[in-house]
Amino acid sequence: MDLNFTESERAFRNECRGWLVANVPQGVLPSGDTRDGFARHLEWENRLFDARWAAVSWPREYGGREATLVEWLIFEEEYYRAGAPSRVTQNGIFLLAPTLFEFGTDEQKERILRPMARGDVTWGQAWSEPNAGSDLASLKSTARRVDGGWRLTGQKTWSTRAAFCDMAYGLFRTDPGETRHRGLTYFMFPLKGDGVTVRGVDRLDGDEGFAEIFLEDLFVPDADVIGEVDQGWRVAMQTTSSERGLSLRSPGRFMATADRLIDLFGRSEGADPTLRDQVVRTWMDAQAYRWFTFETVTRMMDGDSIGADSSMNKVFWSDMDVRTHETALALIGEALEFDEGSPSAVDGGHWMKGFQFSLAGPIYAGTNEIQRNIIAERVLGLPRK
C-alpha cells in the first residue's frame, strides 16, 4: 500500500494542471445542454483533443495518452478543480467508446473514435423507450434486415443532448421471434436525415437536455452494428455498467463541489449550527468516495473487474450529490428561490441548478432502486423472487 502519488503521477498532475490553468475559458460557458451552449462547448472539446487531454486513458493512436486509471482520476481532479466546462462529449467518450474498445472492429475504431473525442461527431445515448425504462429488456424498437444493412423503426426517449448530436447508439430487436434480452442488436445510427425525427424535451432545470427520437425505416449499414447480431444485450451491459461505474462520476467532481460548499459556508453568516456538521459530512463523503475509488481502481489495475460493485458506487455518489446541494440551499435560505439570471441570485443561482441536476442522479443510469436490487442479489446473494 502506498497512498502517495508516484513521481510520474505527480508529473502528470503538474502537466495537466499547467495546461488547464492556461487554457480553461474565463467565465462560465452557457449550459452545454442548450443549443448555443453546446456549440460553445464543442470549441472547448476541440482544444482539449488537440492537446490530447480529451481522452487521456485512450491509446495514443486515437488521440489519448495511455494514462493509467490513477492518472485518469488525477486528470479528473484537476479538471474539476480548474472549473473546466462540463463534457458534452461524455456520452461518446465514456459510454460508447468502452464498448467499441471491447467489441468494435478496427475499422469502426479508426472511423469513429478520433472524431468522437474531438467533438467533430457528437454522440447521444438512446437506451430508454417510453415503456422500457428500468425494464430495458422490454424495448419494442426493431431492425429489419435489408440489403447491405438494416432498417430501424421505433421510438427512443430521455436521450441526453440528442437534440444537438449527430449520432446515437442503442438496442433494437433484430430477431422478432425472440423476447426480453434475446434477439437484440447494438446499433449506431444518425440523428439527422430521412427516417429520423428528434424532438427536444425540456428538463426540470429548463435546459433542453433530453430528446425523443422517432425512427421510421432508417437505413443503417452493417458497418454500424457493434458486436454480433442478436448479441446486443451482452454488448450493452458492458456500457451500462461503465455508465453506472467509475467512468461517469469520478471523485474530482464531488471534491470540487465540496470545496465550493465550504467556500459558500464561509460566506454564510449566522448559518444554522447543524449546517456546519452537514458541510463537514459533505467534505468527508467526497473524501470517502475518493479513497473508495482509489481502492477500486487499484483492484482494476490488478486485473479484477468491479462488476456489481459499481452499483454501490452509483448509489453513494448520487445520494451524496443530492445531500450536498440540499445543504447548499439550506445555507442560502430564502434566497434559494432566485433562479439563474435573477439579479439577487446567490452564486448566479447555480446551486439551485445543481440541486435540480443532482435529482436526476438517483434516477438515470438505472434507478437507485434497481441498483439496490443488484447489490442485494449479486453482491449479497439474496434470492431474486
Binding site: S134, G333, E337
Partner: protein, 337 residues
C-alpha cells in the same frame, strides 16, 4: 377538546375545492409560467364571488368576520391547486391590515375593493423587499420605519427577479414613504405586523400541506398506471414504502397547521411555538414528499412537460419562505430549552 372542523367550514372548503378543480387547472398554472395571467385572474374572480377573499373582514366592512380556522382549509386547497396569485398577502395580511389601520380615505379607496376581491394586495414587512405575484397586484402594503404604508402599485418601483417557480413572478420593491400613503398612526404597528407575519406563515404552511397532498395524488396515480417488469411499479415494495413514508409525513404535518390556525384565532399563549411547529413540519414534509414523488415518477417527472415540477418548485420556494424549518426549530428551542 374537539379537533374537527364544522360542517360549515367543510362546506366552504368544498366550494373552493370545486372552483379550483374546475378553473385552476395545471394548464392555468402553466400559462402563468408563460406570463399569461388571464386564466389565473378569472380564478381569482370566481373566488372573489364566493366572498372568501374578504372573509376575515368584519361584516361592517363587507366581510364575514371569519378566522384563521375558517381560512386554513382554503389555503390548503389553493396549495393543492398551486393557485398562482397573492392570496396569502391579500386574504391573510392585506385585508386585516387595511381594516385595522386604513385611514378614512384608504378605507374608501382600498378596503372595500380588497374585501370584494377586486384589489390584489402584496405585502412586505420591515426588512423585507421581495414580493411574489408581482405581475398582477394593485397595491403594496409595507412596514417601514415602524409605520405602515399603503401604496398603489403604479407608484411602486419594482425590479423583476426570477423565481425557480416561474409562476411566482418575484419583484424587489421600493417606494417613496410619503404622507398620503401612510396608514393610521393610532395603532400598534409592531403588533399588527407580528400578527400579519404569523398569519402568512400559517397560511403558507397550509399551502405546503395541500401541495404535498397533490404531489402524492399524482404519484399514486402514476405508479398504479406505469408498468415495468410486467406489473405496475406501485406493486414494488420500495415504491410502496416511499409513498407510505410520504403519506405519514404529510398526515402528521397537517394537524399542526390546523392547530396553529386555531391558536391564532384564539390568541392562545402557545401561538408562537405552534406557528413555528406548523411551518417546520409543513416545510420538511413537503420537501420530503416532493423528493419521493420525483423518484417514483422517474424521468417523466424530470421534464417540464409533465406537471409535477410546477408543484415541486412551489414547494422549494414556499418551504424556504417565511422562515425555513431550521429557522423555526431554532425559535422553538428558545422557548423550550
Amino acid at each position: 377538546m374537539r379537533f374537527a372542523f364544522t360542517d360549515d367550514q367543510k362546506m366552504l372548503r368544498d366550494t373552493v375545492r370545486e372552483v379550483l378543480q374546475r378553473e385552476c387547472t395545471p394548464d392555468v398554472v402553466r400559462q402563468v409560467w408563460e406570463g399569461q395571467g388571464e386564466g389565473a385572474a378569472s380564478v381569482w374572480g370566481t373566488l372573489a364571488e364566493t366572498g372568501v377573499i374578504g372573509m376575515m373582514a368584519t361584516e361592517a366592512s363587507g366581510g364575514m368576520s371569519m378566522t384563521e380556522v375558517d381560512s386554513v382549509l382554503l389555503f390548503e386547497e389553493t396549495g393543492y391547486a398551486a393557485l398562482p396569485g397573492p392570496l396569502v398577502d391579500t386574504l391573510a395580511v392585506g385585508v386585516p391590515l387595511l381594516e385595522a389601520a386604513a385611514t378614512e380615505s384608504q378605507r374608501d379607496r382600498y378596503l372595500e375593493a380588497a374585501v370584494a376581491g377586486e384589489l390584489r394586495v402584496v405585502a412586505v414587512a420591515e426588512g423585507e423587499d421581495t414580493v411574489a405575484y408581482a405581475i398582477t397586484p394593485d397595491v403594496l402594503v409595507a412596514q417601514r420605519a415602524s409605520q405602515t404604508y399603503c401604496v398603489p402599485w403604479d407608484e411602486v418601483a419594482a425590479t423583476a427577479e426570477t423565481s425557480v417557480d416561474r409562476a411566482r413572478h418575484l419583484a424587489k420593491v421600493s417606494f417613496e414613504a410619503s404622507d398620503p400613503h401612510r396608514m393610521r398612526n393610532d395603532v400598534d404597528h409592531e403588533a399588527l405586523w407580528a400578527l400579519a407575519k404569523r398569519r402568512a406563515t400559517v397560511a403558507t404552511s397550509a399551502q405546503l400541506v395541500g401541495l404535498s397532498r397533490r404531489m402524492l395524488d399524482m404519484s399514486v396515480a402514476y405508479v398504479k398506471d406505469r408498468e415495468q417488469f410486467g406489473k405496475p411499479i406501485g406493486a414494488q415494495q420500495a415504491v410502496k414504502h416511499r409513498l407510505a413514508d410520504a403519506l405519514i409525513q404529510q398526515e402528521f404535518a397537517r394537524p399542526m397547521a390546523y392547530r396553529a390556525a386555531w391558536s391564532l384565532a384564539t390568541e392562545a399563549p402557545s401561538v408562537e411555538v405552534d406557528v413555528s411547529m406548523a411551518k417546520a413540519y409543513a416545510s420538511d414534509a413537503a420537501k420530503f414528499v416532493a423528493r419521493q414523488a420525483l423518484q417514483v415518477h422517474g424521468a417523466i417527472g424530470y421534464t417540464i412537460e409533465y406537471d409535477l415540477h410546477m408543484w415541486m418548485k412551489r414547494v422549494w420556494a414556499l418551504a424556504a419562505s417565511h422562515g425555513d424549518a431550521a429557522h423555526h426549530r431554532a425559535l422553538i428551542a428558545e422557548h423550550i430549552l
